[in-house]
């Protein structure tokens, strides 16, 4: 159903972060616009309840729910608005669910707009969660700031995949993701970030592999252009027989800067932990190869960056 009361710019924002302008009839969603919940829909298996003591919502996914999707986009189009929102996800045993979150800020005014989303996931036994989050900003006067914090508790045998993308227009971001992983459970995080201008992005991952045979796989691909800078911090603690892998792959262009600070702690003899980091400019031979196909240097660069962040 298309949302009533959104203006054209707000609809564009919604499209940029969710890829759509309306949600399927009978699906679960919650739309937050300029600090207010403005549209909500629940299903038999998915309930969304506004918090009474703080801004935000509780989302309850019933045990055994199969292949449902919840959309919870946040739009900010009022300049100077700063908010901290708490969203808690309670995911029942065996549920299979996709959660699409995201924040779009359109700031044409001079005040700084800021959204800090604090998301907590309590994932039941053998549940499978896919969490997709896109961040996007437009407007060039006031700053657009986003600070997502994610906390994940993975129950026995559960699986969580978190895909986060920040491709454009966010001036300052500090992302913190913390996970506590139980027995036979696994978390996979895929992060993509592009910064340009004077933007700053900081991502921190902190994972405790507490359960036997637990696992974590973190993959970050990022591009820092112009004068932007990024910091990637990861800390994986293998507290039990477990597998942890983090991978940071960054391309720097112009005066872009990237710092990767990986940290691995093996607190158990059977913890197997790996970190890979590669930072550098685009390989010259890649540009040349594409130029021999008829692309200009600039087109070649674009293709390589787009592919890298795809």
């Amino acid at each position: 159903m298309p949302f009533k009361g959104l203006d054209a710019e707000q609809i564009d924002l919604l499209k940029a972060i969710t890829g759509r302008t309306e949600f399927d009839e009978g699906s679960a969603y919650n739309l937050r616009l300029n600090g207010q919940g403005v549209a909500r829909s629940v299903t038999e298996n998915i309930n969304i309840v506004p918090k009474t003591d703080a801004p935000g919502i509780d989302i309850y996914i019933k045990a055994g729910t199969k292949n449902e999707t919840v959309h919870i986009p946040v739009l900010l189009s009022q300049s100077g608005l700063k908010e901290t929102v708490f969203n808690d996800f309670h995911i029942g045993d065996d549920a299979v669910v996709t959660i699409v979150a995201g924040c779009g800020i359109n700031n044409h005014g001079h005040g700084d707009s800021e959204h800090s989303g604090i998301h907590s996931f309590y994932i039941g036994k053998n549940a499978k969660v896919k969490y997709v989050e896109k961040h996007y900003g437009v407007g060039n006067a006031g700053k657009k700031v986003m600070n997502p914090t994610t906390y994940c508790e993975l129950g026995e045998g559960s699986y969580m995949e978190m895909d986060t993308v920040q491709i454009s227009g966010v001036d300052d971001t500090s992302r913190k993701t913390t996970a506590v992983v139980g027995r036979d459970a696994k978390i996979v995080v895929k992060e993509k970030i592009l910064t340009d201008g004077d933007q700053k992005a900081r991502t921190e991952f902190s994972v405790d592999l507490n359960g036997e045979n637990s696992g974590a796989h973190l993959v970050s691909r990022s591009v820092a252009k112009e004068n932007s800078s990024q910091l990637f911090v990861s800390d994986i603690r293998g507290n039990a027989p477990s597998n942890g892998h983090s991978e940071c792959d960054a391309i720097v262009m112009d005066n872009g800067r990237v710092v990767a600070e990986p940290r691995l702690s093996a607190n158990n003899i059977d913890a197997a932990l790996i970190h890979e980091a590669a930072i550098g400019k685009i390989a010259g031979e890649q540009i040349i190869k594409l130029m021999t196909l008829g692309l200009t240097e600039k087109e070649a660069e674009e293709q390589i960056i787009n592919g890298f962040l795809k």
Binding site: R221, D249, A283, E285, Q286, I288, K289, L290, M291, T292, L293, G294, L295, T296, E297, Q303, I304, N306, G307, F308, L309, K310
Partner: protein, 235 residues
């Protein structure tokens, strides 16, 4: 028609790699051969514009292309299949074939191109052209890219390298077919007898100079004699 007119190339660290090389041919199937390190790939890079001659001029169809950039030469219809293909993180095989052919290919079209080089197409089109592909797979994709471009000049740098016997037989047929059915000029850098045999013309480069240049059917036999004079003349 391709002409090198007194082309020399000195590397940045001062090594004379190509020394006053001149040749001119209008044959449509030319094989460049010669010992390792003799300067064959350097000639190919000079044709593609990846490096510029220190002195001398390069012409195609009587047009001086010496000052054209890599992109401009590609747009003029020069294609170069690298000896060592480049790996890309993020770009898929289909992306590369699409870029090569200058249009967004459907999966079916990409498959057709890949099957020419003996790759079981559907398994490959969606894969990233990254480190996960084997050397031979990557090499065949490189060749498919040149075929996708279908330009008036195609340079293949040791297309046989790393390719299994079955695919090689297949490849020979593809080259024959290209020769018969297209109007383009094919230049193959090769050490392979079976490729040399196909040549209308053979150019031997040793130690940065042309040591033999002539009709394929004649030179083909001469250069195979033990201790062949052409291989040594450049020393």
């Amino acid at each position: 028609m391709i002409e090198f007119r007194n082309v020399s190339y000195t590397s940045e660290d001062g090594n004379d790699i190509i020394k006053d090389v001149s040749f001119k041919f209008s044959e449509r199937f030319v094989v460049i051969t010669g010992p390792n390190g003799s300067g064959k790939s350097t000639v190919a890079r000079l044709i593609a514009g990846i490096i510029k001659p220190t002195s001398g001029r390069i012409f195609i169809d009587d047009k001086d292309i010496t000052d054209l950039s890599v992109t401009e030469r590609a747009q003029e219809g020069i294609s170069y299949g690298f000896q060592q293909p480049v790996r890309f993180k993020g770009l898929t095989v289909k992306d590369l074939l699409s870029l090569a052919s200058g249009q967004k290919l459907t999966t079916a079209e990409a498959c057709t191109l890949l099957s020419k080089v003996g790759l079981c197409a559907r398994d490959y089109v969606g894969r990233e052209a990254n480190a996960s592909l084997s050397g031979g797979e990557l090499k065949r994709i490189e060749i498919a890219m040149i075929m996708a471009r279908n330009t008036r000049i195609s340079v293949f740098d040791e297309p046989e390298a790393g390719i299994d016997l079955w695919s090689f037989n297949n490849l020979i047929n593809v080259f024959k077919e290209l020769h018969e059915n297209t109007q383009g000029t094919i230049i193959i850098i090769s050490h392979q007898e079976r490729i040399l045999k196909l040549a209308d013309r053979i150019i031997v480069i040793a130690n940065g100079v042309v040591t033999a240049d002539g009709e394929g059917s004649k030179l083909y036999k001469e250069i195979q004699t033990p201790g062949c004079v052409y291989y040594r003349k450049g020393e």
